[in-house]
């Protein structure tokens, strides 16, 4: 596991329960690493788990591995894989990160890459302890023909046996784009307005803006021959229900409130980038990207 924030910890702790899997957790947060080595990696909430992966903040300690799973924030992909690539010289590296472009970055450092999209969520409570908020599925698929589907299946099988349901498909771009379009069309709107997901959706004019963003994202997916595995519009409306995620503050809104760099370049920025490549105009996604980057720039003003 490269990166054991909330999502990385869910994978690391659960996979460490399997007898036939040895898990190494690489993370730069020394306190988190020390706590894992001392007390194990504890999950609470949707599942009560204590896994005992080997944890280290020193990439040189990583042994050769069959699989790597990248779970850092997207802006740290480059430095994380640059530091750990040696461990995957004969293995496969999967990403379960948000956004677009992570696979391309990984492929710049390792031979065999697995595209992945994951829906479980959590948050770090304290070093060595993660709150598991939501269970969810993961989809893996080969990034290119250097990765056989059977290897993605082997990884999915291990995750499923560990309590993290996963499946492998030959083209995993559908779920990836479904999630990216959902996130790019809702997260920054919450971040720019301060509204929860439900309140964004109940304002009809704002909901129409969300639809404008969704339509651009879908058009870029279609231009690449990607078939979304579900309609983001339905997922957005479903999430807006009072009994689902009406009161949810988008992670990007939480980032903005805490003045943490956001993943905007990999969400809306990714859609814009692929749109340029495939000749699809994405003016609304470009506008939203520029605005959120403006918010980030405001933090460095005196």
């Amino acid at each position: 596991m490269v990166g054991t924030g909330a999502v990385g910890s869910l994978f690391a702790a659960n996979l460490a329960l399997l007898d036939d899997v040895e898990v190494w957790a690489f993370d730069l947060a020394q306190a988190h690493v020390d706590a894992i080595n001392r007390d194990g990696l504890r999950l609470s909430g949707a599942g009560e788990v204590v896994g005992r992966p080997h944890a280290t903040s020193d990439a040189a300690e990583l042994p050769p591995c069959d699989f790597g799973i990248l779970a850092t924030k997207a802006m740290h992909t480059e430095s994380a894989i640059a530091a750990t690539a040696h461990a995957f010289a004969d293995g496969y590296v999967a990403t379960v990160q948000n956004g677009l472009g992570n696979e391309e970055t990984l492929a710049g450092h390792v031979e065999r890459v697995i595209r992945g999209t994951t829906f479980p969520a959590g948050r770090l409570l304290e070093p060595g302890h993660v709150q598991w908020d939501v269970k969810g599925d993961t989809t893996f698929g080969p990034y290119d023909d250097r990765t056989p589907l059977a290897e993605a299946e082997r990884l999915a099988d291990a995750c499923t046996r560990a309590g993290m349901p996963a499946k492998a498909v030959s083209d995993a771009r559908g779920p990836q784009w479904r999630k990216v379009v959902f996130n790019a069309s809702t997260n920054p709107i919450g971040a720019l307005t301060g509204l929860t997901h439900g309140r964004v959706c109940e304002r009809l004019d704002l909901r129409a803006l969300v639809t404008g963003l969704v339509d651009e994202g879908k058009a870029v997916a279609v231009a690449q021959g990607i078939e979304l595995d579900a309609d983001p519009e339905e997922l957005i409306d479903h999430a807006a229900r009072k009994d689902v995620a009406y009161d949810h503050k988008a992670s990007m809104l939480q980032d903005v409130e805490a003045r943490r760099q956001t993943e905007i370049d990999y969400l809306n920025g990714g859609i814009v980038r692929f749109g340029c490549e495939y000749g699809v105009a994405t003016p609304l996604n470009a506008a939203i990207q520029a605005l959120v980057k403006g918010v980030e720039a405001s933090w460095t003003q005196s």
Binding site: L192, T193, R199, D205, P283, L284, A287, G294, A297, S298
Partner: protein, 307 residues
């Protein structure tokens, strides 16, 4: 001596009132009586580009305004214009009324409350209030005036001359719309982006190095506004993009009022500025998707105050 009423004593109203009091008989209408009392007792001090203390009349009661006033300048914030105009209904029978609010539509709001001859104005000067009886004169750029209802360019000239004589800069135009629209597009763009990003109007707004730089968005927003102006038959007095570039090169970081408003969780002038532009675009069937997005986002940000 010309009798002038200045209604609203924020920074613009205070700058006008204090300067005009040098050449005219000025009465200020305030919302708070305590503010009027401070002005009556202490006068109104101006610092910065001017340095003097003006003595002037002040009241918070529209009924006490001089019935023979010649010129009334409504200098309140756009969000306060309806209650202000309503409070003046039936008063100031001899006055020409001049609006100076940002955006579009202030004149029509006022027109609904009386038969006064109306002048339109936009101002580019700025100031900072330091309490009820002290205003700092910051930017000494001009106020532009044009006829609106029942007035001619001559009336606009007389008002401009009076303001010039008082030590401020002013210019009259036969038709104010070219200037008004330049400022409308500039404000809708810059104030909207500032209110969403929390950035003061600084170099970011003109930056066009990387594709995701804010300057590209600002230019696209300006271009949408220009397209609306063209269809409306308005030939802009200034290019709003150039206004933006020049303002960001001035070297001091201006905090647009809309940004100050959202930070203080106050209602903004969004409807008179961005709302007016988007509604004009709709009326004229010009697509303005980005201006529409900014308008909806700021409106939603205002709604989040109650979160």
């Amino acid at each position: 001596m010309t009798k002038v009423v200045v209604a609203g004593a924020g920074s613009i109203g205070s700058l006008l009132a204090a300067h005009l009091a040098q050449v005219a008989d000025v009465t200020v209408l305030t919302r708070r009586e305590e503010h009027a009392a401070a002005l009556r007792e202490r006068g109104l001090r101006v610092s910065g580009r001017s340095d003097f203390t003006a003595s002037l009349g002040a009241t918070s009661d529209p009924g006490e305004l001089p019935a023979d006033a010649d010129l009334t300048i409504l200098a309140c914030k756009g969000t306060d214009l309806v209650p202000l105009a309503a409070s003046l209904e039936g008063t100031l029978p001899q006055a020409t009324v001049m609006t100076i609010q940002n955006g579009l539509g202030a004149e029509d709001i006022v027109a609904a409350y009386g038969e006064w001859p109306l002048l339109s104005a936009v101002t580019f000067m700025s100031g900072t209030r330091h309490g009820d009886a002290h205003v700092e004169y910051v930017l000494d750029t001009a106020t532009w005036i044009g006829p609106y209802r029942g007035t001619t360019e001559e009336d606009a000239k007389r008002a401009a001359e009076l303001i010039e004589a008082s030590g401020l800069k002013a210019e009259a135009f036969p038709d104010l719309r070219p200037a008004q629209w330049s400022k409308l597009i500039f404000n809708a763009t810059v104030n909207g982006v500032a209110a969403l990003t929390n950035l003061p109007h600084d170099f970011h707004f003109a930056q066009t190095n990387d594709l995701a730089d804010l300057g590209f968005l600002v230019r696209d927003l300006v271009d949408e506004g220009k397209a609306v102006a063209t269809v409306a038959g308005v030939e802009l007095h200034d290019d709003p993009w150039e206004m933006n570039v020049v303002a960001t090169q001035r070297g001091h970081r201006h905090f647009p009022s809309m940004l100050e408003d959202v930070e203080a969780k106050r209602p903004t002038e969004l409807e008179l500025i961005n709302g007016a532009l988007v509604r004009e675009a709709e009326r004229l069937a010009v697509g303005v998707p980005l201006q529409t997005a900014v308008y909806r986002l700021v409106k939603a940000r205002e709604a989040s105050y109650s979160e």
